[in-house]
């Protein structure tokens, strides 16, 4: 993480922005990992929590002067609020976590695939509500005036904190219990593990981090609108997690860095490069195609992602992903 120092001092504005965005995405993907990695249930819905966090921080930090015009229907206490950055971001995370409690209690009862589909429905619902709840969200138009406090330092601090939180969860009793239920749900139940409860805890914890990521992103862009937190962010976040390896924290972090580099490489190529006299550029949209192809290639070569289920530093012994099939009970 020392790379931050030279980048901040010497690099151009573009690179600084790229890295700031990368750290914000790291908070998101690490949050997603906390649930997906430990439970084995893919979620398409976590960007919904990001959306909730982003709007929450807009309600709390946009100057009351400006809120009068864009979001007229806020209750008095929010309309007058103008909180500082840090408490606002944390409250945004807490709101996302609070929403995750009832959602989790319902969804976590479903089996793996049904739960995944239901998370997608949750994303669609959040997007719809925030697109039409004019009084609080200004509908599909943007809310402007969010203080741009997310810079490379704050985003780096939050990314580091998110990694620590996810690590602490993984080694906690809750993390171990949920991973056991991920690998052998039947045996975990026979060992006294309540899988629904464990999944719900992870769901709420990861919603908190994703809510924080949403708030950070809002403070990075300075504006929010519902479609900034929908399918394309969901796709990128899942690509990062899957490419890196969704069953390890190291994989999640690696995936974020790898995909960010890939995206900025292709963005540069889309803008065009000149070699001597000749210059060429890739058509717009190549970036998404490249991520898609990279994802397919990695999944073919390394189904468990670049990192698999190993961790960088704290491994006891390298896990063999080799699985034997056992007869059913």
């Amino acid at each position: 993480m020392l790379i931050v120092v030279p980048i901040d001092l010497f690099a151009s504005g573009v690179t600084t922005r790229t890295f700031t965005e990368m750290f914000v995405q790291m908070v998101l993907v690490v949050g997603l990992y906390l649930f997906v990695g430990n439970s084995g249930v893919i979620s398409f819905g976590h960007v919904g929590f990001m959306c909730i966090g982003a709007y929450a921080t807009a309600w709390l930090t946009v100057p009351p002067m400006m809120k009068q015009f864009t979001i007229k229907g806020l209750p008095e206490i929010l309309a007058q609020a103008q909180l500082p950055f840090l408490p606002s971001v944390l409250l945004a995370g807490l709101l996302a976590a609070a929403v995750a409690v009832p959602v989790g209690l319902v969804l976590m009862r479903l089996s793996g695939i049904a739960a995944s589909i239901a998370t997608f429905a949750f994303l669609a619902i959040v997007n719809n509500v925030y697109s039409n709840w004019d009084a609080w969200t200004a509908g599909t138009s943007s809310i402007v005036g969010i203080p741009t406090e997310t810079n490379i330092w704050t985003s780096w601090l939050f990314a580091s904190a998110a990694i620590l939180v996810a690590y602490a969860y993984s080694v906690s009793r809750f993390g171990l219990a949920l991973r056991s239920a991920r690998d052998e749900p039947v045996a975990a139940a026979a060992a006294g593990i309540d899988m629904v409860f464990q999944r719900t805890i992870a769901f709420v914890g990861s919603a908190f981090l994703c809510g924080v990521a949403g708030a950070l992103y809002a403070h990075f862009l300075g504006v929010v609108n519902p479609d900034a937190f929908f399918l394309s962010v969901t796709f990128t976040a899942l690509a990062m997690l899957i490419l890196g390896g969704m069953s390890s924290l190291s994989g999640a972090v690696t995936g974020v860095v790898f995909v960010t580099l890939l995206i900025s490489l292709f963005r540069t190529l889309e803008r065009g490069v000149s070699v001597g006299d000749a210059s060429f550029s890739l058509p717009a949209g190549s970036q998404e195609i490249a991520i898609g192809i990279a994802m397919i290639l990695v999944l073919i070569r390394r189904p468990a992602g670049l990192i698999g289920n190993r961790e960088f530093k704290w491994t006891r012994s390298p896990a063999k992903a080799e699985r034997r099939h056992k007869p059913a009970i």
Binding site: R173, A177, S180, A187, A189, A190, I193, S317, I329
Partner: protein, 250 residues
């Protein structure tokens, strides 16, 4: 004080109209080893699934010390003091042996430190403490079985139900397993139900044996009764060519 009892009372279950168990009753007492034998498909695993909350019976009930267990989910059955092992082991392969046992402590509501202490105690007691840091997925068959039993022993359950723990073991290994099962009953005062095809082993270690065939109890009693039973001999000869050699010891 009476020793704890686990009672199955006229249990029946059907799968899509097919009767897998009908009118099955048995009683486990703490400190005693109870054998459950019968040809493949007789319904032995199904009975264990019912007693541990994995399968709801169509009729009948089961009780621990007079308290009905019907409808309890598996994790609550385990917390209530009834543990089980699986025919296929079902260890958490990516976790270490110690962590495998630790999970059972977490399931009982302990924190990691306390769960680890219990896990170590059980590994020590079984005599496999040296395996603690091995990955469960890399264990040889016999050790895998013993770890599965260890996981079920964490938290001193009143009863442990074992599904074919000796399958695939050599004669020598099966004898060692038999001694372990007797120690579980005697030293840990646990009531044991053991499903086993190795009938020699069952006759050696069990004080009471129930014989199932096609979902019905065809005989029950002490080893001597089973040894003499014409019905048992007939069931084994009639249905299962591959265990005729086992039946020969009858």
């Amino acid at each position: 004080m009476n020793p704890p009892r686990l009672i199955a009372d006229r249990i029946a279950v059907s799968f899509a109209g097919l009767r897998a168990l009908s009118d099955v009753s048995l009683e486990l007492v703490s400190g005693a080893v109870h054998g459950l034998i019968g040809p493949n498909g007789a319904g032995k695993t199904t009975l264990v699934n019912i007693l541990t909350g994995f399968q709801a019976p169509t009729a009948g009930n089961y009780r621990l010390d007079g308290e009905r267990l019907n409808g309890l989910p598996p994790h609550k059955v385990r917390r209530g003091g009834i543990a089980r092992t699986f025919q296929g082991g079902r260890l958490f392969k990516d976790l270490t042996v110690l962590e495998n046992l630790e999970v059972a402590g977490l399931g009982l509501g302990l924190d990691r430190g306390a769960a680890e202490v219990l896990a170590e105690e059980v590994l020590e007691w079984i005599g496999i403490a040296d395996l603690a840091d091995e990955l469960a997925g890399s264990l040889p068959y016999t050790d895998e079985r013993r770890v599965g039993i260890g996981r079920a022993l964490v938290g001193r359950p009143a009863f442990i139900l074992m599904d074919e723990p000796a399958a695939g073991m050599s004669v020598h290994e099966a004898e060692a397993l038999g001694r372990l099962i007797l120690r579980i009953a005697e030293e840990r005062h646990c009531g044991v139900l053991v499903i086993e095809h190795n009938i020699g082993l069952v006759l050696d270690i069990c004080s009471h044996i129930t014989v199932l065939d096609s979902g019905e109890i065809i005989e029950a009693g002490d080893p001597e009764t089973i040894r003499r039973s014409e019905a048992v001999r007939h069931a084994y000869m009639g249905t299962q060519a591959d265990i005729v050699s086992d039946a020969a010891v009858l």
